[in-house]
């Protein structure tokens, strides 16, 4: 019997072989290619890049394939791979004001310079299953027109000109890097935003939703949501100037939040900010709401004890790789600790029943 707990090595090898077979599924059905996942499951790819903190659609697609579509597992594969990559340097901050937008909307103004651009959104689709997609079909035909070169100035800058919104003060401070330094409390806003940007979408969504339902309500309007590509520039020491090394797709959300003023600040609008890799607008909007809720102290607001105001609670529990690892580790063997608990419980019960017997005798 005792022998049965041995043989871990063979059990692991066999489990891996079975996993590989299950991943492939029915071999008579054509295998998915990485390119198919990258092109046709692009929003899953975006989520894996955002939460994996690595911008590489091919690798994210490969991770999704390897993870059998389990996106947190795919994020994990990307994070572990990221650990092995050398760091060549740091890019300049990207200029999202110069973004080539696929989508740009404002909920606070009916029209604005650059216009409202819906882009490829689910927003006004009727959620009816499209059975035509179940059959193989031709690529859809999409009407096209010449791209408009009109600049898309930020909505926030209009409000800023009137002094109606708090100024986002520029800073040359080098932000901390949560992937290279241990997370330390108190965390400044740059650090908080980094953690939120790679945080689990579901967790951030839930927290943001809780602020809307009154747990640290902060009255948000989507001042602007923009999705598109920006150039990434980096200084090359040999050249002495910055060169464009590529472009990345981003979603940026700036919220305008009502603020009636406090002891330290006059009445004005305040900001919440979200910036995430890829087309990930649910996450970017959620991030902006949670960012704003976490700023209560700096704005002189009351701590109402809401989860979304509590930086330690939010930041230490937002990472799905940490969370899923610790949660799932309870399925590993714990029989040594369980044995020590068994001994303790048996001992306490023995003593309790001896006490009860003692009382019984005394009563008789």
């Amino acid at each position: 019997m005792y022998v049965a707990v041995k043989g871990g090595e063979r059990a692991i090898d066999n489990a891996h072989a079975w996993l590989a077979e299950e991943r492939r599924g029915d071999a008579s059905v054509a295998e998915l290619s990485v390119a198919q996942i990258r092109e046709q499951l692009a929003l899953a790819v975006n989520r894996v890049m955002a939460e994996g903190s690595l911008y590489d659609p091919d690798l994210a697609a490969l991770a999704i394939k390897q993870a059998r579509g389990d996106l947190i597992e795919a994020v994990f594969l990307i994070r572990a791979y990221r650990t092995t990559l050398p760091r060549f340097g740091t890019s300049h901050p990207v200029d999202t004001g110069a973004m080539a937008c696929d989508r740009r909307i404002s909920a606070t103004f009916k029209d604005l310079p650059g216009g409202q651009v819906l882009g490829p959104t689910f927003d006004y689709t009727h959620r009816l299953l499209d059975f035509a997609l179940a059959a193989e079909g031709e690529a859809p035909h999409t009407p096209e027109r010449e791209a408009d070169d009109a600049a898309m100035p930020r909505v926030m800058d209009f409000l800023n000109r009137e002094g109606l919104i708090e100024e986002a003060r520029p800073s040359d401070d080098v932000p901390p890097d949560v992937t290279r330094e241990p997370l330390a409390m108190p965390a400044d806003r740059a650090l908080r935003l980094q953690v939120l940007s790679r945080a689990d979408e579901g967790f951030i969504l839930g927290l943001a939703y809780s602020t809307q339902r009154g747990y640290a309500r902060n009255h948000p309007f989507v001042g602007e949501l923009r999705i598109g590509t920006v150039a990434v520039e980096m200084d090359v020491p040999e050249l002495g100037f910055a060169v464009e090394i590529g472009e990345i797709a981003l979603t940026e959300c700036e919220t305008v939040n009502q603020f009636t003023g406090s002891k330290t600040e006059p009445a004005q609008f305040t900001r919440g900010y979200g910036l995430v890799f890829g087309q990930t607008e649910r996450k970017a909007i959620s991030m902006a709401l949670v960012d704003r809720a976490l700023r209560w102290e700096e704005l002189g607001e009351d701590d109402v004890g809401a989860p979304a105001q509590d930086a330690e609670f939010v930041l230490y529990h937002a990472d799905n790789i940490q969370a899923t690892g610790f949660l799932e580790h309870i399925k590993l063997p714990h029989y040594v600790d369980f044995q020590s608990e068994l001994e303790l419980v048996r001992k306490l019960r023995r003593e309790a029943s001896a006490d009860a017997d003692g009382h019984q005798e005394a009563a008789e």
């Binding site: 019997m1 005792y2 707990v5 041995k6 043989g7 871990g8 090595e9 059990a11 692991i12 990485v34 390119a35 091919d58 690798l59 490969l62 994990f76 994070r79 572990a80 990221r82 650990t83 092995t84 050398p86 992937t179 290279r180 330094e181 241990p182 997370l183 330390a184 409390m185 108190p186 330690e312 230490y316 790789i321 940490q322 899923t324 690892g325 610790f326 949660l327 799932e328 580790h329 309870i330 590993l332 063997p333 714990h334 029989y335 040594v336 600790d337 044995q339 020590s340 608990e341 068994l342 001994e343 303790l344 001992k347 306490l348 003593e351």
Partner: protein, 288 residues
């Protein structure tokens, strides 16, 4: 397309023991600081490893940082070398570092463990690396890291003593059976990782270096050789290292920590050593 971009890496493409040298240096600095301040939790920039948090990522990073090609490496989980996760971690270092491995406690220069301290006495020159889930002994009394760091700085351990006292007044005993806190050299209260309290006496005055790695929580701490680690107790309720009151059914040892193994569905059970190497060695000696 992926292949062209050189994304496919072979195992030989990874650095010795997986982590790059810069990362190892960063971890070594944290270890040295930990050894200089026994029992103090040193924050370190834990990396994402190819096994999940909770599977020993802290221990793996500490092992990777101290490992040399000449090391002989042993891994145990629950005291056993052949539990699945011990097998997996041993394989990881066989692949990424090519080090020799062993199951013999005496032969190992570096031992990574989860939940146990080996029964055989450790010697000078050996390093024991613990996998730690929650490094903060005060965590379940105070969930905030900012608060618990202050409590350690001020040696404010009253809350812990109150908790132990309440246990005694409620149950007649301190109701902590594993991860039983110790006070290191009269200064820091330390979580010894979830070892059964039976193992606590072995922490103290140990000739080997003891290193504790918590990956997810980003903390490293240490006990240098011959450091005093006293299990918390009261004069009238002294600490007691407890175990199942049986001898081992396989080797007859009556002074080892035992696993309870269920042998049938009628309540049959046997008690056997949790330290498989110790038990097998004794069985061989008895047979000879």
């Amino acid at each position: 397309m992926l292949r062209e971009r050189g994304h496919f890496m072979t195992e030989t493409a990874y650095n010795f023991a997986y982590l790059d040298e810069e990362t190892k240096r960063m971890i070594r600095r944290a270890i040295l600081k930990g050894l200089a301040i026994p029992g103090y939790q040193v924050p370190f920039a834990s990396r994402e490893m190819p096994m999940p948090y909770g599977w020993g990522t802290g221990g793996v990073q500490v092992s990777a940082a101290v490992m040399t090609p000449e090391d002989r490496f042993k891994v145990i989980d629950q005291g056993a070398d052949d539990t699945t996760n011990a097998v997996s971690i041993r394989k990881f270092f066989e692949r990424t570092a090519g080090v020799a491995t062993t199951t013999r406690t005496e032969e190992a220069s570096l031992i990574q463990t989860r939940h146990r301290i080996p029964e055989a006495a450790l010697a000078e020159g050996q390093i024991l690396v613990y996998q730690v889930p929650i490094p903060e002994p005060l965590r379940f009394l105070e969930p905030r890291e900012s608060e618990t760091r202050k409590m350690h700085a001020l040696e404010e351990y009253g809350l812990m003593h109150v908790k132990l006292y309440e246990d005694i007044s409620r149950h007649g005993h301190i109701a902590t059976a594993y991860a039983y806190p110790v006070r290191v050299e009269g200064r820091y209260v330390m979580d010894p990782s979830p070892i059964p309290k039976f193992d606590n006496p072995k922490l103290s005055d140990c000739p080997a270096i003891q290193l504790f790695g918590a990956g997810r929580e980003q903390r490293i701490y240490a006990l240098p050789p011959y450091t005093r680690a006293a299990s918390l107790d009261f004069e009238d309720y002294p600490f007691e290292a407890s175990k199942a009151e049986h001898p081992c059914a396989l080797c007859g040892a009556d002074d080892t920590y035992l696993d309870e193994v269920i042998t049938d569905d009628a309540g049959g059970r046997m008690f056997v050593c949790s330290d498989t190497d110790y038990c097998e060695t004794r069985q061989k000696e008895r047979a000879a």
